[in-house]
Point group: C2
Chain length 236, copies 2
């Protein structure tokens, strides 16, 4: 477990540690209710205000949720737990659009390779269905949704929650910080055809469980996207 | 910017939002001091207790630090900002050692490919120097340090802070949750030679700026590591 230095005046940190310890020991599991504030305060010999601060902190990190009048619970799902810290890093310009695109590339490539190995029939049919719709729709907003679903399905087919979580966060970061970029890329005539082609290549290679071809097709895909993102961010 | 639903009783969340807005607008930059609690409380018409809760929360996420008697500051560096959420996810068994290893593979491969393009002379000399020491040292603890430094240098040579940050976090997670695994892997006779060979191949390929060879050598490296991690986790 990750140790943090405890300052004397940081009573609430002791409470956060205590809850973490209960998680490590298995005493607290996802979805479970936390002990009442009063009980925690007594047990740790701290004020209820310190317990409340600790709860707030854990809520902001996204690990507990407080249900009105019903107490605090360990969350069931942690899918959005990385959004806040990554968004803040982005906002403070510790990271830029190019770095995000490169990270996306690394993860998309590996997720696609894993998907070629692990996708089940349902995943593959979903990909093929999405491509069919992409090839006929003229609606640009619909195309954005289909594109997102396509990549979400690949991440899901990797059967690795880390890839799914982080790629989702990156997708949100791109939407939030490079406004309208997805629509811009998908609407350009020269991109439309190229993207439809690589999307089809990716789906086919996953169907054929051909890792090398998946890698190559996804590499082409990322090159198209990253070219466009660079073009946009250099204009700004 | 990422919107969160505001419950009426979550006054502190409004304060967190306000600080985030100041970051987005550029009013607050890294290393800067936050306005005094009193001032924020007045401006937002909330209690000082709510402002304090917001500060605690931002501190737990790792974005501000409070300096004894000197107020709250936006941090200078956010390198450790992902450790807490990822550790918690791990602890709550949302992710397992295999998933972490796969994520590491995806990131190491891409970081190494970027390093082949971007490593400067200093990075390359460092890698070569580390290999020279690895090939002669008999001390197992020293070998663990050299191995970590080798991979840290590649991540750094990618010149992408996202790879550096996330790979560091993964490295810490592995150390924390698969205790002693690094030493175990590096101490096995059959691994020693194979690892020294792939480390040398990686460094050489970076020196020659040969992306394909870097990829292949790093792939071999990850296979050795992941085999060993799987062996261990299946025993447990």
């Amino acid at each position: 477990m990750v140790k943090k230095e405890k300052a004397n005046n940081k009573v609430y940190k002791g409470v956060v540690e205590e809850i973490k310890n209960k998680i490590v020991s298995g005493e607290l599991k996802k979805g479970q209710k936390l002990p009442p504030k009063r009980e925690l305060a007594e047990k740790l010999s701290v004020s209820r205000a310190s317990v409340r601060e600790a709860m707030r902190a854990l809520e902001v990190i996204g690990f507990i949720e407080s249900k009105q009048g019903a107490g605090n619970y360990i969350k069931e799902s942690f899918e959005d737990v990385l959004i806040e810290p990554l968004s803040m890093m982005f906002m403070l310009q510790q990271i830029n659009a190019e770095e995000i695109s490169e990270l996306r590339r690394g993860l998309e490539l590996e997720a696609a390779v894993l998907a070629a190995e692990r996708a089940d029939e349902e995943d593959i049919l979903k990909l093929e269905h999405l491509i069919k719709e992409m090839s006929v729709t003229e609606n640009e907003d619909r195309n954005v949704i289909l594109d997102k679903e396509f990549h979400y399905t690949i991440a899901k087919a990797s059967k690795n929650k880390m890839f799914l979580n982080i790629l989702n966060v990156i997708s949100e970061l791109i939407d939030n910080f490079i406004k309208g970029i997805r629509k811009e890329i998908l609407s350009k005539e020269e991109n439309k055809e190229r993207l439809l082609k690589v999307h089809s290549e990716i789906a086919l290679a996953i169907r054929e469980r051909n890792k090398m071809n998946v890698y190559k097709a996804m590499e082409k895909h990322c090159t198209i996207i990253n070219e466009n993102i660079l073009l946009r961010t250099k204009k700004e």
